[in-house]
Symmetry: C2
Subunit: 432 residues, 2 copies
């Protein structure tokens, strides 16, 4: 039986998950593929610890040995971060190895160089594990939907924030308590910045958009917003209006060919497919010109789901050999839409004094900036400051921001003004 030797670099969550996956499912994988997959060496700085947790595997601390070893067929880079991950991936590709990585940061920030290197020589690159954990979304996009023009991508791409938003919604918790709960249950890191500020989702939507639109996108150019400022009251207002708030990565090709890409909390209708994806689950919707929306849902992180994706790439690289097609970006740099021109509906919430005539002044400012109001909620409350909520029709961002500045200057408007984008686009058999 053909044997494939894997050199594993990084024995953390995903690396040890891959080891366990092969221990547990080796027989079933052999029957399906006719290949025996074997982790032949592991590189990790905690070598003693790794030796205690593994059997019959060479454990080393210098990754260059794995790449120099002619017996290594495939290198799995599972350490994350930019360096030394970047050097590892480039060196392994140059050495003509198969390379699999779960490193979304590396691919989103340095993808240009990595994809060019994988296209240049005999190295073969697999990136399934970099987005969506156990969800085979890169494969679906690159191969399943290869006959389609992708119109847009919308995704719940980060499990931590989806877990927090779910628990704010279900248990009426304020953000801080929901975050604490997520940390206690292992769904959020001790320092949760990377997740809750939207950077993780930003890496993933950048990578998905590059592949879908076949153009280079600089991660640093992607506007990113997180969820820490979302108030429980916004979730309640959203629900009252039939909406749910999700942190979405969104990328659309506009009519002039420019790309509108962003990450931000988004209100979507309760019947929208992504609205019923809860807790730590991720879900990605590709809206395509032949299939219409295709949605993939599952666990977007965790040792075993991510290891499943790593293994999927290892199998494809092994079965296809030289025929394996690495992801390539061949159409040059994407033109991103000017931020001010982005079109969206908006939810706006502010605190005002409780006296007559204020609504008309605020509505006047919105109208002057070409923003037409779809609905207004002003509930009777017995406090000094009254919450006032608007939903607008579609408007350009530049008009919206100008209006907000002007409204903030009214002496009867207090504190920050909450602005949340609204996406009404239909999806999979939405229930009206």
């Amino acid at each position: 039986m053909k044997k494939i030797r894997i050199g594993l670099i990084g024995f953390g969550t995903v690396g040890s998950g891959l080891y366990r996956l092969l221990e547990q499912n080796a027989a079933i994988i052999e029957r399906r593929t006719g290949i025996r997959f074997e982790i032949s060496s592991i590189c990790d700085l905690r070598a003693e610890d790794v030796k205690n947790r593994t059997k019959g595997v060479e454990v080393i601390t210098d990754w260059q040995e794995i790449i120099a070893d002619p017996k290594t067929d495939i290198v799995a880079e599972l350490i994350g971060g930019i360096e030394p991950a970047k050097s590892i991936v480039l060196a392994a590709l140059k050495a003509g190895k198969g390379v699999v990585t779960a490193n979304k940061k590396l691919l989103a920030e340095e993808g240009g160089e990595i994809f060019a290197a994988s296209g240049a020589g005999s190295g073969r690159l697999g990136i399934e594990a970099s987005v969506g954990g156990g969800i085979p979304c890169i494969m679906a996009l690159r191969h399943g939907l290869v006959g389609n023009r992708v119109k847009s991508i919308m995704g719940i791409l980060n499990g931590t924030t989806n877990y927090i938003l779910t628990s704010m919604q279900e248990n009426n918790l304020p953000f801080a308590d929901a975050l604490k709960d997520a940390q206690d249950r292992g769904f959020a890191e001790a320092d949760p910045t990377f997740d809750i500020e939207g950077f993780d989702a930003g890496h993933k939507i950048t990578l998905l958009a590059m592949i879908a639109f076949n153009r280079q996108i600089q991660f640093k150019d992607v506007p990113i917003g997180g969820i820490a400022h979302i108030d429980s009251i916004d979730i309640v207002y959203a629900r009252d209006m039939g909406y749910v708030i999700k942190l979405l990565g969104i990328a659309k090709e506009t009519e002039d060919g420019s790309i509108d890409i962003r990450v931000h909390p988004t209100m979507i209708p309760g019947g929208h497919h992504l609205a019923s994806v809860w807790n730590e689950y991720n879900s990605i919707m590709f809206d395509c010109n032949m299939t219409d929306p295709v949605i993939l849902t599952g666990k977007g992180a965790g040792a075993m789901p991510t290891a499943s994706a790593v293994l999927a790439d290892i199998v494809q690289i092994s079965l296809q050999g030289d025929a394996y097609q690495s992801p390539l970006i061949t159409d040059g740099a994407a033109q991103l839409i000017e931020p001010g021109k982005r079109m969206s509906r908006y939810y706006i919430r502010m605190q005002t004094d409780d006296r007559p005539g204020l609504l008309s002044q605020i509505a006047g400012v919105l109208g002057k900036n070409n923003i037409s109001i779809s609905s207004v909620i002003q509930k009777e409350v017995h406090t000094e400051n009254v919450p006032l909520v608007f939903m607008t029709h579609e408007a350009a961002e530049e008009g919206m921001l100008a209006a907000i500045l002007e409204i903030k200057n009214f002496d009867f408007v207090h504190g920050e003004i909450m602005l949340i984008r609204v996406e009404d686009s239909l999806s999979a058999g939405e229930q009206k």
Copy 2:
């Protein structure tokens, strides 16, 4: 640029869809694959009509010419049914061609022979379009989830019945009116038997289960039930209890290794992932031992979604060449679970006289057959016959059927007894 010549057999909905897809998206596919795909010949008995609707393509009426033509790289069998489709696929495989088919009936009923033939020679077989239309579910299962043991598959596999059930639920229509509406809108055939009796879903779950469990399953051995007997009142009762009724194809590996496979209307909790898939959309949930549930959703039929899947296979066969791995079933015949041993919760609805003591007699019969009651609904109505509804805990089918026979014999029970299976298994971030 490498060129791949496609011989298209059958210019119906999907065949003409493939032609249009290539007309419209050829440039984007070329940039992604480096290959020019061209339909070089079309076989269809309506040759004149096809000639009028195409340009620069040879149109013939004898499929053997396409297979005999050395210039044909890939044969697309898009006529459906058993013959001559079976002869076409076998002959094309024997001739060493790439073969793609959307023919679920052929694969579910004659899969053993077809898969064996594709494994035997140099022919390569692609079957993505046979299940789930534009949803890349075969690829996800075979390649994306290759490192997993599949625990179960649950799917909304037929758009016609999902459309009908959606419209029964949303518009409170009886089955007959919802069917008529579906026919008027083109979501149901003039003779809808194949869809509404569950045969179409049965073909698909048979095929998915064979691939997932790597064992032969005979379609004729799969118990299949349709939706024509579902009453609007059942949909209302289901909703009152927090459930939705969907026609599901289900396949599970039981603890002793036997396969529990079936198609029937099923009550699932409103928060279940499949519960929020409406109208003509399909959705397939693979519950796997590494990824946990992965769910794919999209349009399961129609010219362009299905053509997208056909094209996906054509591309993979063309890129991978001899490395392409056709689906194989290598573990022999599946042992199916004895029908009487199948475990399920049940919804039972009957009409009884309105007098005291009847409930206790019926409950007694259920208890005697080891069926424990989870809830009872008996609403006050002012008619002669009173609807009585039970939800049971998990019970074996043999006990359930014995109890039903006994209950039917009571002189105070009138008409048919409605029995609907209930699946409570959790899925993607179900909202409690």
